[in-house]
């Protein structure tokens, strides 16, 4: 243990004494030290807490609110979670069932699943904090509630960059490693003239009656916009949704952050011309203006929003149509687009304008030195992180949960519980390797077992299934054996050795990824599904893909990977054809093509042989096939029986020989059975 660590430990004990004996008496100079500080007790924070607690690390979870997952006390505003809680899958495979359980956190406790709290397919939002609470309590996670960290600064601890967090009481936390799981909760806003006249999703009334006979303009076309629209659909007179991009349907894009069909009733009323509609345009170009009853038009901006009268209508106009930017000019009819284009879509006034533009990461608590940069994607709403989820330029600070979604924004499920529970686990494994020298867990397999192990993973693994294209299984080939690493972040592949503690041998490596396909066909149209394994690469639905590399791809390879691919061009690739039932276990379409791919990568025959064939091959070949080597010659041959041999011989696959031996087996059994019955006592 390093000196630092022991100092920390000491401090920690001291502080624990302090906090337990004199809790609430935080002096200004009080400092607590932990190896790991987890910021935020939401799903990601608690998930990380579970892993740290399991390996008995020195950690603390800091939460500003009084309970876990407080985001869910407010959001979604209309209180229905759209994350699937499918309990009845017809299967009892716990790993498989997690593929259809989007709310549970990972733990080794089978009873700590979300289904204990709710049986609803789309549960109530209130159930989620309750679940987190149960999770935290039953696993005994160390959470300090009511610690509102307002400032984070980087600090040097004997050459190691750590972080000091200060809460509202001036209490400081010294953290060797900071895990930021604060989520996204600052409402995203766009500045335009009249944006103060707009209500926010976070504060709109949720009682539909309040929207009775009102014309409503909603800015945004995501799930919160549609959720809001759906709730007032029966009361509002017309609902228009306005945002730059057209609606993206989750069932078309396979991205769960896009509009879910659960929320899309408005599409119906739009397309059936029932007074609702969708419009595209830039938010920065619009202005919301008000017009008074007496006919005098005034710039809306001048008015105080608190004095808004209900009957004063709001108009949407374009910045370029407003005469001046100083705001003193009155808005006349000429300033409205309907004056210029008589059939302008949004020419009618609105009673309310609601902003449903999502949320952004709270960068404000980070001091300059400790602040991660804004992500290049997602309109800079997220912190930029490395492929192993460490903040860019902020060593030893990792971002977890929704805030870490910049890695797979609009691609995979990393921004959602059912996705980030796995990335949190991956980050935890990185931590174990980096700070405790505990290598990424592996399963060592003889090569003859590789195929069935891959099939097992393909048919049950939830991490690679939920985090498709982002997490993949890595198989390090080592001759007659291989090491199997589960759910490694693919983008971190070039740094595999340093991050996992395992090196790549000359035999190369295989990567197993779940992927959606090219998605170039109509999602519900003909030809959407591929069933021919030889055309598996054209599969549109989620299907397993194996990549074979002779050497570890470099960062450059990764940057220049083919468009839309999760990984660079490999030495060889194998797509397992999509399956309607997502059961990749059929001998002709799935197993045999996979076996042949593995045979190519390993340059060896991977067929299975009956003991009799191995007997023949062992005596007549200096180098019998792998299956005989790893089975029969280790005295574990598959003997089979007369019936199966008959089949194999009829197929011309097994050397033909008279079948006299088996008759003796049956005789033997009869005889043996009889002898057993007559034996009085086995215990000598």
């Amino acid at each position: 243990m390093s000196v630092i660590q022991s100092v920390f430990r000491l401090l920690c004990v001291l502080v624990l004494l302090l906090t337990t004996t004199a809790s609430g008496l935080h002096g200004c100079n009080n400092t607590l030290s932990h190896e790991y500080c987890v910021l935020g007790a939401g799903p990601a924070g608690l998930q990380m807490g579970y892993f740290l607690s399991r390996s008995q690390r020195d950690y603390i979870i800091l939460e500003r609110n009084a309970g876990p997952g407080s985001f869910f006390n407010i959001y979604p505003r209309h209180r229905k979670l759209i994350s699937i809680n499918k309990i009845h899958t017809g299967r009892r495979n716990k790993e498989f069932n997690l593929r259809h359980d989007w709310n549970s956190l990972l733990s080794d406790r089978p009873d700590l699943l979300f289904q204990r709290i709710s049986q609803e397919l789309y549960p109530s939002a209130d159930d989620f904090p309750r679940y987190l609470s149960v999770f935290e309590k039953e696993l005994g996670l160390k959470v300090i509630y009511g610690a509102d960290v307002g400032r984070i600064k980087a600090s040097d601890f004997n050459g190691h960059q750590g972080y000091v967090l200060t809460d509202q009481n001036g209490l400081s936390y010294e953290c060797r490693v900071l895990l930021v799981s604060t989520g996204l909760w600052v409402p995203q806003q766009v500045g335009f003239r009249g944006s103060d006249l707009v209500e926010g999703y976070e504060s709109i009334p949720t009682d539909p009656e309040e929207f009775k006979d009102q014309a409503v303009l909603i800015l945004g076309k995501g799930n919160s916009a549609f959720e809001t629209a759906q709730s007032i659909l029966g009361r509002a007179s017309r609902i228009h949704l306005y945002s730059p991009s057209p609606v993206r349907l989750a069932w078309q894009t396979h991205y769960v952050g896009d509009l879910r069909a659960v929320n899309n009733e408005l599409l119906d009323t739009y397309q059936l011309k029932s007074l609702d509609g969708l419009v595209e345009g830039r938010l920065e170009d619009i202005a919301i203006v008000r017009r008074e009853k007496n006919g005098k038009r005034r710039a809306a901006k001048k008015r105080n929003p608190t004095s808004t009268k209900k009957n004063e209508s709001l108009y949407l106009t374009l910045t370029e149509l407003l005469d001046d930017h100083n705001g003193t000019n009155k808005v006349t009819g000429q300033n409205l687009p309907g004056y210029h284009t008589d059939n302008f879509s949004l020419r009618q006034p609105y009673d309310r304008v609601i902003r449903c533009l999502g949320f952004r990461f709270n960068f404000s608590i980070f001091d300059g030195s400790a602040r991660p940069p804004q992500s290049s994607g997602a309109r800079g709403r997220l912190p930029g992180v490395t492929a192993w989820y460490e903040g860019r330029g902020t060593p030893n600070m990792f971002v977890l949960g929704t805030a870490a979604h910049s890695r797979d924004y609009r691609m995979s499920a990393g921004g959602f519980i059912h996705g980030f529970r796995y990335t949190v686990r991956a980050v935890y494994k990185f931590l174990e390797q980096r700070y405790h020298n505990i290598a990424w867990p592996t399963t060592n397999l003889p090569i003859s077992q590789l195929q069935s192990w891959i099939l097992r993973r393909v048919n049950e693994a939830s991490g690679t299934y939920q985090m498709f294209g982002v997490l993949g299984d890595i198989i390090l080939l080592q001759g007659s054996h291989c090491k199997y690493l589960e759910e490694f972040p693919l983008q971190a592949l070039p740094q595999l050795s340093a991050l996992s503690g395992h090196s790549v041998s000359d035999h190369g490596l295989l990567v197993l990824v779940m992927q959606y396909g090219l998605n170039q066909t109509d999602t519900l149209g003909p030809g959407r599904a591929e069933s021919e394994w030889t055309k598996a690469w054209k599969s549109n639905f989620l299907h397993p893909v194996l990549y074979y590399y002779k050497t570890l791809p470099t960062d450059k390879d990764m940057r220049q990977r083919p468009v839309g691919w999760p990984l660079p061009r490999p030495e060889a690739v194998h797509h397992m054809v999509e399956d309607f039932l997502t059961e990749w276990d059929q001998p002709i379409s799935h197993s045999q093509p996979l076996r042949r791919f593995l045979e190519h990568c390993l340059q060896t025959d991977l067929r299975a042989f009956y003991a009799e064939s191995c007997f023949l091959l062992s005596l007549t070949s200096g180098n019998p096939p792998l299956f005989c080597h790893q089975g029969y010659l280790r005295k574990q041959g598959i003997v089979g029986n007369r019936h199966l041999w008959q089949h194999a011989r009829e197929a011309g696959l097994m050397a033909d020989a008279a079948l006299s031996e088996d008759a003796s087996v049956t005789e033997y059994l009869n005889h043996a059975g009889a002898a057993v019955i007559s034996t009085v006592n086995f215990d000598l």
Binding site: L318, S345, R410, D605, N623, Q636, V639
Partner: protein, 804 residues
């Protein structure tokens, strides 16, 4: 008319060999008469003979025989004798031949075109049939022919890439015979080939299709086409057309072997399907569907079971008969299977040529080439019956494995062929042990109960673990077969070690009552001898015995009398005594160390026989010795030679002269695969018994004891010396090749590169300037619905997301 031709048609097949030539030699007089008679004749005018002409005349003679059947006379006029005006003069003399109808020239041919009998016959017939056989170049022309023929007559389309070859002749001969019945069409172009759905029109294969136009009900319906799959020759065309003419399905009321249908006379495979009165319509439909798909290759007969003459057992629903073979019965579940079975298995086998090699090559990829997978796959219609095996779940697992004296648990995957092959043996064992108290066989499906399998650390499938209450699970490490597992479980019931308390019990253990109790499981007894219970070595011996439980019967005798058992032997206590059977001398060993694993190794080694019979199940134990094999093959029948040769080798065992070898034998009756070994070693099976030296691990050479020499001890020794001194020539060589992939790689990357060239290509290094410009252009934006003809909102607005 047709039948007459038909007879002629068949006749020519034999008539071709006729030796006496039908070639006429005409004078100008006879030529005149011939022309006046108005007959069709093929005439060649020549004046002298050079080697080329001589060859041509030979072919002309042959064609005379062939064309006679079609009423065409072949004539040669010698211009040097009779100078016929017009034809016996000019440059064209010698290089031209003419087809006359009466005195009218139908066509003239270059003798380069009509270079041989096939060319002559095909061209002549083609000219004669000029009005009957239509020549088409394009699909459009073919469609015109089709629409004219609809509801009228069927069409035979022949694609002849090169005129004048045997295929062309075969088509023309067929056209001559069947021309009145069917509309014949000839084509040479690849356009029509494509139209007919040929994948690779560049192949120079002659092809034939039958278009069913006569039976189309409406003019707008297309004619269904059937391709002839066999090569284009007279017999095949004849058979094919007969088949197309025969009813799609023939119905019969006798057993398949009794049915007499046209197909049998045509020597094509016949498929028999069965029908029951209550499902008659359905069965008829099925038969029609199957027949349609197999049309042109297979005859289909529907047999009505309600007739007492039909004796086929109900369990069979399909039968087939190949030409010159007996009827075979089998059971299939779907019409597709029948078609597949026929197309892939029977017809492929009987195909003379691989016509579309490439296509077949890839469709081969769908045939399982793994003997275990294939044999399990063939049982896919059977439901897995785990009657005697209890299937454990997460709820029952822990309680079950604690309940019984021994719980044997198999961990398996349903989709793993090896597991499913083994599970059959497992069920057999369970059935055999059903009445044994205290033993339960159970199974865990790891596809479903993944948590149990992870908890039990199962990483290899199938795995069998033996659970006993209050003890760690013991892995079963033996052969995954009925016999081995059964024996292991029964042996596991014997406590290990067996504690023996007196010399009398030791006696009983080695050859008395205790011995006989388990003699059917193994004749071998291993006994640990210690001078007292206080001996420190006992615990590790007991540990070793526990590890070997189920494999060996091990006794422990810790007593002052133990010394008695090693008296006179050069070993002191503690010692290991091994008995291979009551009558056999005991062997004694001292322990090399005190570790349990060393004990295990020692016991496993001493258990091995000195002159074993090699079997499928025991070979791995002996191969571990890594010695060259001195291997005696003994025939199935008991013979004095066999017993004496065994005895001769046994005699040598004691001398130590065979110590560098593993002397062993294979009984071809009990281990029939031994015959294949001999064949691989030597390329033939020598007279048995036969002795070989097989240096599997050391050079791979195989030596055969000269069959003419008697298998006597001294001969064997001499021969061994010769082999060692390299005076003997090896009779065979064991290959030491690596087992590479058995089939070529199906390269998805290559296919992607071909079909979508940029899809799988790495990106070029980035140049950073795009993207931004787009933004500026969007400054002027008018919001609107992008659907209408309104001032357009820019649909290319940055594709950003606004909601998580």
């Amino acid at each position: 008319m047709c039948t007459v031709y038909l007879v002629a048609f068949v006749f020519i097949l034999t008539a071709e060999q006729c030796s006496s030539s039908k070639l006429m030699e005409d004078s100008d007089l006879s030529l005149m008469e011939r022309m006046q008679a108005g007959k069709t004749s093929f005439i060649y005018f020549g004046n002298h003979v050079n080697p080329t002409i001589e060859l041509f005349i030979e072919q002309l003679q042959m064609s005379a025989d062939a064309l006679e059947d079609y009423g065409i006379t072949v004539v040669m006029v010698n211009c040097s004798k009779d100078d016929i005006a017009k034809y016996c003069t000019g440059e064209k003399l010698l290089t031209k031949a003419y087809l006359f109808r009466g005195s009218e020239v139908l066509r003239s041919f270059d003798i380069d075109t009509v270079f041989d009998v096939n060319a002559i016959v095909s061209h002549v017939l083609f000219s004669v049939l000029f009005n009957e056989v239509l020549y088409v170049h394009t699909p459009a022309e073919l469609l015109r022919v089709e629409s004219a023929a609809k509801q009228n007559s069927d069409i035979v389309v022949g694609h002849i890439p090169v005129l004048g070859l045997a295929e062309h002749r075969a088509l023309m001969e067929a056209a001559f015979v069947y021309g009145t019945k069917y509309q014949f069409v000839q084509t040479t172009g690849s356009l029509v080939l494509k139209h007919m759905g040929v994948v690779d029109p560049s192949s120079s294969q002659a092809r034939l299709w039958f278009l069913n136009c006569k039976s189309v009900s409406r003019q707008s319906d297309p004619c269904s086409s059937t391709a002839m799959s066999k090569p284009l020759n007279t017999i095949n065309i004849h058979t094919f057309l007969q088949l197309m003419e025969a009813p799609l399905v023939t119905e019969a009321v006798t057993d398949p072997s009794e049915v007499d249908v046209v197909y049998i006379h045509l020597s094509v495979p016949v498929l028999y399907l069965f029908s029951q009165p209550q499902t008659q319509h359905l069965d008829r439909d099925t038969a029609q569907t199957v027949a349609l798909q197999l049309r042109g290759e297979v005859g289909v007969v529907l047999i009505h079971r309600d007739n007492p003459k039909v004796k086929t057992p109900l369990k069979y629903n399909v039968a087939y008969k190949l030409p010159q073979e007996d009827v075979k019965y089998f059971t299939l579940s779907a019409p597709e299977e029948v078609v597949k079975f026929f197309k892939e298995e029977l017809l492929q086998k009987h195909k003379i040529e691989d016509e579309e090699e490439d296509e077949e090559h890839w469709s081969d990829l769908d045939i399982l080439d793994d003997e275990v997978s294939e044999s399990v796959y063939r049982d896919r219609d059977l439901l897995l019956d785990l009657e005697f095996v209890s299937e454990l779940t997460a709820d029952t697992f822990q309680t079950t494995v604690k309940q019984n004296k021994i719980t044997v648990v198999l961990f398996y995957f349903k989709w793993d062929a090896v597991c499913m092959a083994f599970i059959q043996s497992y069920v057999e064992v369970a059935e055999a042990l059903e009445d044994v108290n205290g033993v339960e066989l159970a199974a865990v499906d790891c596809g479903e109960w993944t948590d149990i399998c992870s908890d039990q650390n199962i990483t290899s499938f199938p795995t069998v673990l033996i659970y006993r209450p209050k003890a760690a699970a013991q892995p079963y490490r033996g052969m995954m077969g009925t016999k081995s597992l059964h024996r292991f479980i029964l042996l596991s019931l014997v406590s290990s070690p067996v504690h023996l308390s007196s010399s009398a019990e030791v006696m009983s253990f080695l050859e008395g009552d205790l011995y006989r109790k388990h003699v059917y499981l193994t004749p071998v007894r291993v006994l640990g001898l210690f001078s007292s219970m206080q001996d420190m070595g006992i615990s590790s011996f007991e540990e070793a015995a526990r590890l070997l439980r189920g494999e060996t019967i091990i006794g422990l005798f810790a007593h002052e009398e133990a010394a008695k058992w090693v008296e006179g032997l050069s070993v002191n206590l503690p010692a290991l005594l091994v008995s291979h059977g009551p009558a056999l001398p005991h062997q004694v060993f001292s322990f090399p160390s005190s570790s349990a694993t060393d004990h295990v190794k020692l016991i496993q080694r001493v258990e091995l026989e000195r002159f074993p019979e090699l079997t499928v199940e025991n070979l791995p134990w002996y191969l571990e010795l890594e010695k060259p094999l001195l291997l005696l093959f003994i025939g199935k029948e008991e013979s004095t030679e066999s017993t004496s040769s065994l005895a001769e080798i046994k005699q040598l065992l004691g001398s130590g002269q065979l110590d560098s070898f593993l002397p062993c034998w294979i009984h071809l009756g009990r281990t029939p695969v031994g015959r294949s070994i001999l064949e691989k070693y030597l390329g033939f099976v020598p007279p048995l018994p036969s002795l070989v030296i097989s240096q599997i691990k050391t050079g791979g050479e195989v030596f055969l004891f000269p069959p003419e020499r008697p298998l006597m001890a001294e001969n064997i020794l001499l021969w061994i010396r010769d082999v060692e001194d390299r005076h003997e020539q090896p009779a065979g060589l064991i290959p030491d090749v690596k087992w590479g992939p058995p089939v070529p790689f199906f390269d998805f990357l290559a296919i992607m590169d071909q079909e979508a060239p940029t899809y799988a290509a790495q990106k070029a290094p980035k140049t950073k300037n795009g993207g931004r410009e787009n933004h500026k252009e969007q400054n002027h934006v008018t919001p609107n619905q992008s659907q209408g003809p309104h001032p357009s909102a820019n649909p290319q607005a940055p594709r950003r997301h606004s909601e998580l």
